[in-house]
Symmetry: C2
Subunit: 309 residues, 2 copies
DNA sequence: ACCAATCCATGCACAAATGCATATCAAGTA
DNA sequence: TACTTGATATGCATTTGTGCATGGATTGGT
């Protein structure tokens, strides 16, 4: 044990370092201010104060935006190290938090968030009013390690060893279209008819196209005249007769406006995984939500499917 | 380039994290306050605010001092990562600083700091009044990577590849004692007489003892009834006749109160190395002091030795 | 058992940082 | 050219944080 360590080196203002980091990463003071929930002048003053404190010019100010100087470029590398460590602190901190009062962030697909989660959240908040649920509905996979979310509900198995994952159930999806649209197609007795059909595609359409062609449909990009990254918007388009889209059977079968566009095809099948960071899972409230979803999600999905029949 | 990154995880107050880190490492709020140059109530409030912000109890308060909780123990590991990164930031920052006005910290042995450095610093400050020189006189080797000092003047070759080092000169040391003390010893014509002599030892005496016995003196710990970690205090004891001590020849030969205690022994010889961190040495003012010492230190040592003859 | 030393908590006056509103500037567009 | 958008700087009222002085509590030694 040393009697007296030297802390003068770390005695600069760490919050200013944070301001510098976020500003450099976001590219502008305004964007950084939005990200941090602070005012833009505050960030500007913090960055300038850091420049004076370290006696280093970090940014070149020319009217439109800020540009890192070579010195700033080198320094931001090291400050990024602080930021990554800070992320780990926050991660461990939410894990250590033993309060059942507070926020829990769940990320999942838009469809799951819209059709399966609402009744679950309602029941959860009824049982535990102190828990505030934040839902991040996105088809992109959020990084649990960075605490962009506490819990993820996905159809791909998480590979990261830092994550605890549980397979909840098996889900299926099919192709649907409105009655009017299907009547518009001449004949519906073979796979070949779909070659002329219009499909609603995703923004990144390759996986979807490949999945359809693996079933022998023989489609090309020409079959996707409308694309949208938001699955819920797609579904509205399908219901309004703009073309054929994919949807989980629990939702598609329950929707009276549409019917199965290709009953002769087997359904897409995939597993539903529940995942959380190992650290976070030591938090009482995250653990509580995790266990709750593990129990209730399969039931809720079964309920939804039953109502459809 | 991502449109919107999630910074909410790092949005806690980083200065509070620093307060927590230093408090945990130093063991008390008061010690941490001293280290950081802040008031103790400030640190106490920052730590408490962090506990509320993260909703984690970090310390157990019982009257005398603070004790880390298990949660705090785990969190301090991650905060230490922030601290280490912060140290690298400070290191790189002083390297990027191109101002010749500001502080430069030099670490060296107490003897060098006391007898060789003063005229050099005087001349340096005469030429460059904007430079503020901080001298850390210590026989422990300070870590240049942690920016405990900018420049080191040592007798061991630095091995770290991150350091730039330059061999300045060769220095020698001998054993000295006061005339009165030497007269008190019966006969001084052989090495065996020293077996009964009293030596002034170091706090960690093993290297010194080994160095003497390598010359065939055959001493034991019994020959070191007085020990002191401070070499300058040792030297005062030697001058006052309390025993035999070691000193560089440039100083020992110039001191009229003492004389060479063992002229038949060869002098200890060692190299003097000047070292600085590679990053820091790109700073204009550190570079300036580095080059100044490289030029002037050998001259100053020669001057001191000449005055003694 | 007392005393000294050391530590943490609290109250209060002051200094510092923050947010809001606003001015200013640069780049793209009709 | 004039207009719109989105950027950074500045002034000011307010909130927040900080330091100093003090009180209360515990440990260690005489």
């Amino acid at each position: 044990m040393h009697l007296c360590m030297d802390w003068s080196a770390v005695n600069f203002d760490w919050n200013r370092a944070r301001a510098f980091l976020v500003t450099a990463e976001e590219g502008s003071l305004s964007a950084a201010a939005r990200s941090l929930g602070m005012a833009q002048p505050t960030l500007g003053r913090q960055v300038r104060a850091l420049e004076e404190e370290l006696d280093v010019v970090l940014f070149e100010r020319h009217g439109h935006g800020l540009v890192l100087t070579p010195s700033g470029l080198e320094l931001v590398e090291h400050v990024r190290g602080m930021g990554e460590a800070a992320g780990r602190v926050a991660l461990a901190a939410t894990g250590q938090s033993q309060s059942v009062e507070g926020p829990v962030t769940i990320t999942t697909t838009e469809v799951t968030a819209a059709f399966l989660l609402p009744p679950l959240i309602s029941k959860l908040r009824q049982n535990h009013p102190g828990i505030q649920v934040d839902v991040v509905a996105s088809n992109e996979l959020r990084d649990l390690r960075r605490r962009e979310a506490d819990i993820a509900l996905r159809s791909v198995r998480p590979t990261d060893p830092d994550l605890v994952a549980k397979k909840l159930m098996r889900e299926s999806a099919r192709l649907y279209a409105s009655r009017d649209y299907l009547r518009g197609l001449e004949q519906l007795d073979g796979a070949d008819t779909l070659k002329e059909a219009q499909f609603i595609g995703f923004e990144d359409n390759q996986p979807f196209l490949k999945g359809l062609n693996d079933l022998g449909l023989g489609l090309t990009e020409r079959n996707f005249p409308i694309r949208c990254g938001d699955h819920l918007v797609q579904w509205e388009m399908v219901k309004r007769g703009l073309g054929i889209g994919v949807m989980i059977t629990a939702v598609g079968d329950a929707e009276p406006k549409v019917e199965n566009a290709a009953p002769w095809l087997p359904a897409f099948e995939f597993d539903v995984w529940l995942a959380a960071h190992r650290e976070v899972n030591t938090s009482r409230r995250v653990r509580l939500v995790f266990d709750f979803l593990a129990d209730e999600f399969p039931k809720a999905a079964a309920n939804l499917a039953a109502k459809g029949c």
